[in-house]
Symmetry: C2
């Protein structure tokens, strides 16, 4: 973790005000991007599958975290030689939610996450959160971040037709903010975030804090890759954030 | 997971016998290479550190799994602003071992691991296991693999002065087999395995089954990268395995 001294928001105010009238906005993924919850999700899915007699290597689960449940089921279907019914998928989803609840106590915000969001708010840069997770699971993580959903849009899987890598979640988040998705920066830790960003026409920025390798994120379209929210905070100028006029 | 039909050892016997008198040998890492235990190690270290009031992001722990405990402690020291005494390190190690014991029930061999080892044995290709883990933790995993340490060398951290990425573990394993390390193939899932392989003069082969990205392993010196032991088994010809004369 970089020293906390580096996490001051004031650095941003060193940049001159700009005459541009297009307002940049940030659309954040949640798990692995703002909260340190990916590995708990991974083991919770692993437990859920083992409970249903499905043996899938843990790294393969890791690489699919953050994608829509429907696509996840299709991917499972391909990996394990077994029909994946709607009933089985629901059973797995319930077992995952129960296991994740057991792991939830160990989950904390990622370094710099609160500071980054506070800095953007202070600088009047609009931001929202868009997650492939369901409201049921996301609510507790949002609370850990200290985010008030009444002030900042939080779009969950329940609110859109298709989750990531479809662009719907990020498009809905931009709409809620009243900003153009083309002026938005999507920040995520998985290739599904970056693929969704590309399909939405947003600028994709990757974070290593979900456990993907840098090259995987770059290949998936990340314009820049930072270690975690703390690292992004001290490099906000690199993604074009200026102090609003 | 590839279909099991692909895991037949007989494919190997398609190759012609060779006149070379240098015997290739395989030196395997254990966690993430033969058994699906990396993510449980990661969360066990995370729990151990949280218990000691040390907050370290989980992906940073993941990227250090498999390196020696001493280097791990140094890396921790750099990440967290806190002196790392021998007492604290021992306390963390004990807490990790206790947490890992709780997770152990969910650990299974990786796909193809048993078949790969059985195939090498059948083809009279010598092989050994070399792990940065301690005997205490490794013994249970070795048993899950069905490996008899009386028949195949298992070198643990307790038996050498320096663990990975120092070459001692793999060098000792080659000595036990009576083979030249320069004729050996080191198979591992982490950059520490590949760095140790390079320092030992062995051929390094990476597996994705520990959760590292392919490029990370290639950059660390992997000659080839396969998904898991099952994938390596069907490509043994690519690493130069011929049927012994």
């Amino acid at each position: 973790m970089p020293p906390d001294a580096a996490l001051e928001c004031t650095q941003l105010t060193q940049t001159k005000t700009s005459s541009r009238d297009r307002q940049i906005a940030f659309l954040f993924d949640l798990d692995g991007t703002l909260v340190d919850s990916v590995y708990q999700h991974v083991l919770s899915w692993h437990e859920a599958m083992a409970g249903a007699g499905i043996a899938l290597s843990i790294w393969r689960i890791h690489r699919r975290i953050g994608m829509s449940g429907g696509l996840f089921a299709n991917a499972l279907l391909r990996e394990v030689d077994r029909p994946m019914s709607a009933e089985l998928m629901q059973r797995l989803r319930d077992a995952h939610a129960a296991a994740f609840k057991r792991h939830a106590g160990s989950i904390t915000p990622l370094p710099g996450a609160r500071e980054l969001l506070a800095c953007l708010t202070e600088q009047r840069v609009p931001w929202a959160i868009a997650t492939s997770g369901r409201e049921e699971t996301a609510a507790g993580l949002i609370a850990k971040l200290g985010v008030d959903p009444a002030k900042h849009p939080v779009v969950t899987r329940d609110q859109v037709r298709y989750a990531k890598p479809d662009p719907d979640l990020f498009e809905t988040a931009a709409e809620r903010l009243g900003v153009d998705i083309l002026d938005s920066v999507v920040v995520g830790d998985s290739v599904w975030d970056l693929l969704a960003a590309k399909r939405a026409g947003a600028l994709g920025v990757g974070l290593l804090s979900g456990g993907y390798g840098e090259d995987e994120l770059v290949q998936a379209g990340a314009y820049r890759v930072y270690q975690d929210p703390a690292d992004l905070l001290i490099h906000l100028d690199e993604v074009g954030v200026r102090r609003p006029a």
